[in-house]
Amino acid sequence: MIYEVSVGERRLRVDIGAHGRFLVDDGVVAAETAEIVRGRQWSVRLGHDSHEVTVLTHDPLRLLIDGTEVEASALDERAAAAARGASAARGGRHELRAPMPGLLKTVHVAEGDVVERDAPIMTLEAMKMENELLAPARSRVVRLVVGPGTKVEGGAMLAVLEESQ
């Protein structure tokens, strides 16, 4: 299976062939990998270069490579094509999600409001700090999913915004 991979700003095509043979951008790579901790950490030797790669978080995928943190993604070709289609269909729609679990203290807008970029939409209290969640762009508030006083999980949908000109 061929994967479209991003590591930081870099884009690569990676193919894992039979017998663990790696092809990167259609060239064969002399790589030897050892899975040190299942699903979490690999030791990779490329020629004589020794690298340690750790999966810090899965979603988004963040890797620690020899002490440097990078964002990465790997999509097989079918998933990559599907993702391109989906983002086109979604247009300028933003789902405001809770970046962490906490208590929704205040809602600063009403449905139908048009807000400027960086306008506060909601205030979420987590770890005793109040965090204002801001509009990612000038947009219209399409839907408010939860109200003040609600305890929300990390990733919970809070509001739907639609970019407006």
């Binding site: 899975e35 699903g39 490329l46 790669v53 810090l56 978080t57 995928l61 490579i65 790997a74």
Partner: protein
């Protein structure tokens, strides 16, 4: 943890308390005795004075060390402990009250002849008074909690237009964190450094200063990196800060370990900020430079012993720097993060100390402060300390949730920081980095291979594998636990 370690070195049995959320915590396992204190919510456990004191009595404790969070600066707690016939490891309650009320502390410093930033010397009555005072002082100003600390309830206000919102957020935070919504306002000093002086005082009049820590690297007015000596502090300024700290401490009748915080402007002029009447999170920086054990000294002082040395005996050797690894996503504006520690490697080796509560399998929740681990490096000079810190951060692995480690890795190699050119505005102007991190081709290839291996491995373990929304994704992850 830190206190348990000092106790064990002195042959003292350590008694710990824990909330329901901390049953598995490391401090529970290292202590000689451990007692449940209530549910996760601090108000019903770590802040429940009555319960804590009753428990200390039942466990026949000789002394209570309040640590550096929760009730560590709470005079009512100190009173309750002493009334129960137990020694409180910290300053007397009246000293805590005098210095804990920030406007009163400002008056005390001014009367002791220490420079104080222009601002109100009494709590603000209402938003109208705040508007008037801020206008008199001139924007930008800092809005602060009278009972404040730890950056909570504190906000920079650039103009009158921002004051209403800042007032609302700050008084809300202050009420939640300290039980008092009272605020005061002071002039914001641009390009200032946050420099603090560690002091120790015994109950017989002996008092010393141990040197400064520069704590200017902050986000949301909370510290991320501290170092000593301060890059901007020369011997003359150090003497003046030490002298000012002792004048304030003497005026307050201070006993035990404390920290006097100052702002130092671009020209080296300083003004008093506040006194922290407790051990500070960043105390290891001073411990490494002076070779002293501050917690052990706190216990000796609390036992009524005199300081075992005089000011002239205090030796400072080399340089030290502390990095606070927090459960915050450095790449997303230091948003608090939660998760399970999936893989952990704490750094070690020459000149590196780690104070950590982490272990693999620990679930980090949003119940408490996001501090996970402190990495403290020491070297013969600042260059060596930074090299060791850099090396230590490179070895550090905290996997399973977003952390501040990437921030530390960046700052330790960033030219302004390396040159010691920074102030409290540093994080805002230097983070996130403008240029993407540089990784050589070989490392990029290795990372790409692992990205595929990890993604493929995860997909294979999943019952369903369609690319869809977060709701079903969360459901699946829960099913996998």
């Amino acid at each position: 943890m830190r206190v348990i370690r000092a106790c064990h070195e002195l042959g003292i049995r350590a008694v710990a308390v824990f909330s329901d959320a901390d049953r598995d915590a490391l401090h529970v396992r290292l202590a000689d005795e451990a007692y449940p204190i209530g549910p996760a919510a601090p108000r019903e456990s770590y802040l429940a004075i009555g319960r804590l004191v009753a428990l200390a009595r039942r466990a026949k404790c000789d002394a209570v060390h309040p640590g550096y969070g929760f009730l560590s600066e709470n005079a009512d707690f100190a009173d309750a402990v002493r009334e129960a016939g137990i020694v409180f490891v910290g300053p007397p309650a009246d000293v805590q009250r005098r210095l804990g009320e920030k406007t009163q502390a400002r008056r005390l410093a001014r009367d002791a002849g220490v420079p104080v930033a222009d601002g109100t010397l009494a709590p603000l009555r209402d938003l109208d008074t705040a508007r008037r005072e801020a206008k008199r002082i001139g924007y930008p100003v800092m809005l602060k909690a009278v009972a404040g600390g730890g950056g909570k309830g504190m906000r920079a206000v650039a103009s009158a237009a921002e004051l209403d919102a800042a007032w609302r957020l700050s008084s809300g935070e202050a009420a939640g964190a300290f039980g008092s919504a009272a605020l005061f306002v002071e002039k914001l000093i641009a390009h200032a450094r946050h420099v603090e002086m560690q002091i120790l005082a015994d109950s017989r009049g002996g008092i010393v200063w141990l040197g400064e820590r520069d704590c200017s690297i902050q986000r949301r007015n909370q510290k991320l990196i501290e170092e000593s000596p301060g890059p901007s502090v020369d011997a003359a300024l150090r003497e003046r800060l030490g002298d000012a700290a002792l004048r304030i401490a003497r005026a307050a009748g201070y006993v035990n370990a404390g920290t006097v915080e100052f702002l130092v402007d671009e020209r080296g002029a300083f003004s008093f900020l506040e006194v922290n009447t407790r051990l500070q999170v960043e105390h290891p920086v001073t411990e490494l430079v002076t070779g002293l054990d501050l917690v052990a000294l706190q216990l000796h002082i609390a036992a009524g012993e005199p300081l075992p040395f005089a000011q002239s005996d205090v030796r400072r050797r080399g340089a030290s720097i502390e990095l606070r690894v927090t459960a915050e996503d450095a790449r997303r504006g230091f948003m608090p993060a939660t998760g399970r520690i999936a893989l952990l490697r704490e750094p070690a080796g020459p000149g590196v100390r780690v104070d950590s509560a982490l272990f693999e399998g620990l679930t980090v929740t949003s119940d408490y402060d996001p501090l996970l681990m402190k990495v403290i490096a020491h070297g013969a000079d600042r260059t060596e300390a930074l090299a060791r810190a850099r090396r230590a951060v490179r070895e550090t692995i905290v996997a399973g949730l977003p952390t501040s480690v990437a921030f530390h890795a960046h700052v330790l190699g960033e030219p302004d920081f390396v040159a010691g050119r920074y102030d409290t505005g540093y994080v805002a102007t230097h983070w996130p980095p403008r240029a993407p991190v540089e990784v050589d081709d070989s490392a990029v290839t290795a990372a790409a291979l692992v990205a595929v291996l990890a993604t493929r491995g995860r997909a294979a373990r999943r019952p369903v594998a369609s690319p869809d929304g977060a709701w079903s994704r969360v459901g699946r992850e829960e099913a996998l636990r």
